[in-house]
Structures are given as structure tokens and as C-alpha cells.
Subunit: 233 residues, 2 copies
């Protein structure tokens, strides 16, 4: 059954947004008294009934919890968006399907792309969440300069790069991790992080990792690191 | 350093194909006596010297083995190509970056797309192999009807689907696998495999698996299953 998204599901009587209402009544041709599934994007899916359709807005009632997801590991992917917009949008779609909690577009020395259309990105995330029957809507942050990001970074943070410096295999690290941790992975732009950026990160206690033997494209590294965490933890 | 591809590297004196020669001399502006890296797509990378450039064809000599990759686990992804050609091509690129050995486009009951441009697919595979500095060129088979595929299928074969039938978590299966096995994963089209196709597979000893809790798109399931094998084995 299709899944809809409504940010604020705390009230008893709720209405879908204009866009979600349109999808519900125009595309899927739902009617009054139909039962639909709605997620708040924070892990819960509800079963609800369409109580009325007024001014092309769907009103819902009788929320019953169908499912609550408790992700013990919170995954944060900080990634320098590739030059090609489509490649970044692929990343957004795939990483939402696989399961991610926070995405931060990183602005690095070698970044060629400095701007992100956050409204468009948000739409892709919502669509991928609904499509994959996932109840977690990833949070996407504003593009953040590398140095600013380092200042706020927590423990369990890793930087993936292709320089010939000492690196630990990410799967070896994950095998030793505990499930209930927040993990951050930083992925560089097409020209990779600079040596200075890596040295700066290591000074902040961020470990250099490799995701395998092959040289992955930026968006592939983002998806693969996220999937490795979901697979091992 | 850039990587080139040459299928037949057994002889001492070898020449690059027209396309690879063009890339070498026109795009990367390599000249006589330059050292370049070449792979045979079968796991070996050689260091070679450009001995001459005749009729826009690069001649190489002095092969020295730089690297031999021995993949113990051979991964075969049999996948029903998505309706959207771009999604299939994205799958080809990503799965080559991550590491796969054989790809078979499957023709299923719910397949909307029955034809694949194998020449174009091959170009994408070669390009992704070179880009990712990988020495394995995946073999891509002709599109194969589901029933014909089942007849030739070996042990350690799995079928991923979204039906509410008994399924085992793929990562649990992989954790018990031995490294030196061939593994085949079958991925269905947008409308999924039919119940009949799944029952038919199970009769052949093919186990039903799930790749996680979310409903993945066809191409995502292909990449994610491949990455799970590469991560765990």
C-alpha cells in the first residue's frame, strides 16, 4: 500500500500538505473513508482514514500506529556534491532507500560545485522515502565549508579518500563498533580531499579509511559507505 | 595514473584498440616512450611503455606485471533491467566500481524492457572499470528468459523479492558462507517477480532473501546485494 508523508502527526486531526493531497486524490484517486498509510519521517508509520477532502486538501483521522522504527545507529554522510547535479541526486535517492539519517553537503578545496537546491533535494528525499516504504526522512543540512564542519564533528567520524596515506579498512572498523553509536563518514569531491584537509581531520581525531580496493566515484562512495554501516551494524 | 584496457595481453608486443588509442593520444596526449598502465580486464594490471604510434594506434612493449587480483568469490547478478534505460546504465557503472564478475539481464513475466544494447553496455563497463582503477571487466550476457536462466543456475543462488513469503536476511546467509564460492543473486523487475516465478525458483533450491527492511528499486537492489557480498565475504 502506498505511503504518504506528513511532518506533523502529533495532533488527532491532521491534514496532508498540498503536494501530498494532490498525489493522494489526483494521482492515486483516493476518496473519503479510504484507508491510507502515513509516515512522519521520524520512524513511525500510521494507518489513517480519509475523513474529508476540502479545497483539494486531504483530512485524516483515526491514527493507529502500524510500525515504529528505532534505528540504533545514526548515520551521517558528509559529502562534497559532484560537479554533475544528476550524480548528487542519484546519491540522495539511493542513500534514502538504503537508510541514512543526516546528509551534509561539504564544501572542500577541490569542490567545483558550491550550491545545492535544497528544495529540490528535499523533494527527492521525500519521494525516495515513500517509494522505498521507509519511515525515516533524512535531514539535509545547508552546504557547509570543510573547516566549519570539522569544528562541530563528533566521535566516530571517518574520512574516506584515495591518497596513499595510512588508512584502515572501513569494514574492519565497523566490525569492532557498537550498534548504538552515531557514525559520520566524510566523502570528498572529484579531485579528492587535499592532503591538508586530511591532516587537519586527523588532528581532530578523524580516522582515514578505505572503502575497498577500487577507486570509487564520490556518489558511489557515499552510497557504499552507508550500505556498509547498515550491513555490518 | 590512468588505466587502459586491452583484451589480449598475452603477446609481448601488443596494440591498443582504436578507441583506447584515441583516448591515450588524443585525450590524454600520451607520446612515444611514455609509461602507461594497462589491464586485461581479467584481474591483471601491467606497466608498459609506448613503443610507437602508427596510424593512430598505440603499440606497447615491455610488459611488467604491476598487480594481480584473485577474487575468491565470483559474484553473478541476474537482474531484470528497469524500464528506464538510464537506471540500468547506472547499475552497470556502480556495480563495476563495487566489483562484480557476471551480469545477466533477466527477462521476467513483469519485465517491461526486453532489449539491451550490449555494445553500449560494454562501453559503460569498460569506462567504469578504468575509472575505478579496477582490473576486472564484468562479463555481460545476452538477455535471458527467466525459465532458461533457472535451468542453468548453480548452487549458492538467491532470489530477492518483496512478496510476503518466507525469506532469510541476506546478511545472515553471507555471514555463514565460505569465501571461495560463486554466488548468484536474482533481482526482479519493477513489478517484482511473480509468485509463480518464486515458487519455481524455490523448487530449484534457490533461497528467497531480503536485502533489508526497505523496498529497494531494482537497480538499487542490484548494487546493494553486490556490495553486501563484497563487504561480508
Amino acid at each position: 500500500m502506498n505511503l504518504f508523508y506528513c511532518q506533523n502527526l502529533s495532533k488527532k486531526k491532521i491534514s496532508l500538505s498540498k503536494e501530498e493531497s494532490r498525489h493522494c486524490i489526483k494521482v492515486l484517486r483516493k476518496k473519503k473513508n479510504d484507508i491510507i498509510r502515513v509516515t512522519n519521517g521520524k520512524g513511525t508509520i500510521y494507518i489513517t482514514k480519509i475523513s474529508s477532502i476540502e479545497n483539494e486538501t486531504v483530512q485524516l483521522e483515526n491514527l493507529k500506529t502500524e510500525f515504529i522504527l528505532n534505528r540504533k545507529t545514526k548515520i551521517h554522510i558528509a559529502i562534497a556534491p559532484p560537479k554533475n547535479r544528476i550524480r548528487f541526486e542519484w546519491f540522495l535517492e539511493k542513500v534514502t532507500e538504503v537508510g541514512v539519517d543526516i546528509i551534509t553537503p561539504l564544501l572542500c578545496t577541490n569542490s567545483e560545485r558550491k550550491q545545492i537546491n535544497l528544495i529540490r533535494s528535499q523533494k527527492i528525499l521525500i519521494s525516495a522515502m515513500k517509494q522505498s516504504n521507509n519511515s525515516i526522512l533524512p535531514q539535509i543540512n545547508h552546504p557547509t565549508p570543510f573547516k566549519d564542519f570539522l569544528e562541530k564533528i563528533g566521535n566516530n567520524s571517518y574520512i574516506a579518500h584515495c591518497h596513499t596515506m595510512k588508512k584502515v579498512d572501513f569494514k574492519t572498523i565497523l566490525a569492532k563498533q557498537k550498534k548504538d553509536k552515531n557514525i559520520t563518514v566524510m566523502i570528498g569531491p572529484e579531485g579528492d580531499f587535499t592532503r591538508e584537509e586530511i591532516i587537519m581531520s586527523e588532528k581532530r581525531g578523524i580516522q582515514s579509511i578505505k572503502l575497498g580496493e577500487n577507486r570509487l566515484r564520490t556518489e558511489t562512495a557515499g552510497i557504499i559507505s552507508c550500505n556498509m554501516i547498515n550491513t555490518i551494524l
